[in-house]
Amino acid sequence: MSNAIIPLLLDSLASAALIFFAAVGLTLVFSVLRVLNVAHGSLYSIGGYVAASLCLFIASRQLNPYLSFAALLFSAVFVAAIFGPLIERSLVRWTYGKSEAVQILITFGLFLMLEDLQRMIFGVQSFYEDAPMRLLGTLTIGGVVYLNYQILLIGMALLVVISLRLLVNHTRLGRLITAVVTDREMAQSIGIDTNRIFILAFSLGVFLAALGGALATPTSGIAPGLGADTMVLAFAVAAIGGLGQIEGAAVASLIVGVARVLAIYLVPSLDAVAPYAAMLVVLLIRPYGLFGSMTARRI
Amino acid sequence: MTRPILEARGLHVAFNGVKAADGVSISIHDGEFLAIIGPNGSGKTTLLNICTGYIRPGSGSVLLDGHDITHLSPRAIARRGVARAFQIPQLFSAQRVIDNMMLALAAKDGLWNAIRPLDTGARRAEAKALLDLIGLADDTDRISSTLPEGHRKLLDIAVALALKPRLLLLDEPTSGVSALERFPLMEALMSALRQRQITALFVEHDMDVVARYASRVLVWNAGNIMAEGRPDQVFSNAQVRERVIGVA
């Protein structure tokens, strides 16, 4: 019995971890900046491309293969440092206080540009470099084989949830962010440099997206269209959890991960439907998501 | 005495433990111009919100012509002939003044026409006449967000009048209106009410306005009615003078 269930569970958790990485940055950016970044999925795939390129480079030069783990992390930092401040300052900042339609469209324009940029830089062939996964090998317990890389993914996701919570609750930066989230004008009036907070928060969101992409490449490779697919999945998860809710995104990732894996095992033809069907059901019942709350209506 | 148009019975409302209405009953009869006065935060706007279905009372009921409307929506109550003007004007601010008026007129009849234009000659003339009456003749084609606050207030009232209500609820009609414009506004309002035989209830802070125009005054304090009667009776009540008007 457990031989059948535990691998299923591990698959679900690993899948949930990857989905969580895609969604958590989106939800974080939304909670601080109040902007739904439609280009978020592209940043995920850019992270993946950079990581895959670095890993391929490491393999081709026959450098120490364990460097590829550093490469995964480095690519996320690299993408965040370049794109985070650049995008926030040039485009996203312009949309603050504007309608959702404007925010969605501006970032959709960015999404289109980033998709082409990726195609121009990385080409249209798919990348696959699974050195990090092979290096970690497998673990056999009770006759069942597990991929250690999956366990690493789950661990990383937990690490991110805990770190973000610690960051928000127990650091100065976290308190500043909370102040900005609670009342932007008030935060400004007491002298908090909101522009700096916005750049940091947005870059952190980009970092998480790129990290997700980087961590995903060893398991699934990367190909054109990944950004668009990831985007809508991240949307679904963020919406289920409640936009702006970090733990909500974690729980939603679990729901979607389990739903997906169950669908793959039970009705394989419907695996792609599962996340959106879950999103639809949750949003129709609780439009603000599982963990979101309603904002006051105006009069 | 005839049956009241609007009657509230035993209203209880509390927000976070603060009582906005504590067993209040009021009624308003045909042809009255009833003023409600009282300190800020005493629950006057809450009363209007309850009477128009925007919030539900904790207990008690609201009757319109003897029918219970406590649980109807603002929309359903509006369709029964109760219109409201707001303390903060509620306008279609991106639209022109005349379009605000014509949409209000169309709401009464002809909304479901998707073929004929909103701007028919007859509807425009009717809207124009109301704007002339209320003193907005020169603002017809302005975008309503560009109006000065006093004129936004007038437009809000004109929109409510365009519904041809039987009962009009006004929330501080003269607030935001300059002292010079107050009496002209009230004169225009009174003549519109008389001409169209509209009964009205108004919440007001300007005691001069109340003394001059109200046919009856209710003094609301801490969720209760403290005094009630003709303006001269109420204003001579020592308790009212002390607590509400602020002169001993």
Binding site: L105, G109, A228 | A94, A107
Partner: protein, 307 residues
Amino acid sequence: MRTIVAASAVLILAVLPVAAPWLQFVLTLAIAKGFAALGVAVLLRAGLISIGHAMFFAASAYGVAFLARAGINDLGLLLILSVLAAALLGAIAGLFLVRYRAIFFAMLNLAVSMVFYALCAKLYSVTGGTDGMTVPVPAVFGVVLGEPTFKSVLFYISLALMLLVGLAIQRYLNSPLGHALAAVHSNEIRLEYLGIPVWAVLLVAYVVSAALAGLGGAIAGFAIGRVVPDFAFWTASGHLVLIAVLGGIGGVPGAFIGALFLELLHSVAVTVTDAWNLIVGLTLIVVIMFLPQGFYGLFSRKEASSL
């Protein structure tokens, strides 16, 4: 004056394919997308942004394919039935969706359309999966045509529909119901207090917008000869919003101007560069930042509504 401009524009469109036959397909597709973008623009007037309207575009095209498979072979009938199907789907979805606003409306539309997309892509036995379904050449008023002739007929029918439907939508937007729709963006509380049921105003608009997207989808299906799940993918929905905003949501011509501009630019651009999305994305950003009323705002003197 404006009538003259509009008439000459349509006239130019009508003769263009005679001069340059390759343009016929481009223009037919542009009109098709123009219809769908007009549907999106109708909702944008109420401040509602749908990132899911490609679903109705695709649903109608699939509708044509299914009906043709079932033996219906008349262009008029296929158009009417498939638009009705899209409208019906719009009525069902709209019943649930018009309660929501802002980001929630956008996301729910996205969710519904992605369920639709995933079903189309996965139900191989019904929809042909990612291969899609063919849309055969139908008869026109009982006359069986060869494919090139049909494509010409389709273009001129689309052009005529653009005029007729465009005028009808213009009337709708000028009617009390259309004004009430724009008023939803301004002040819902006042609408309620006028006794106007906001949900019904929005539901009518939603059905109209779904029908428009459906009309576009049916035309696109005929023009391309095939319908695939990608018709309904979220990026396609995003493109419809993009077209509506590029053209300007202030008036009916905006959606078609946006679509024509984009399709023509596309057919020119692909001959020089493959960075098409880069150009479109940049154009979109520039237009939103510097031309909030879209291209149509350049032509129309009356104040056009913007986002």
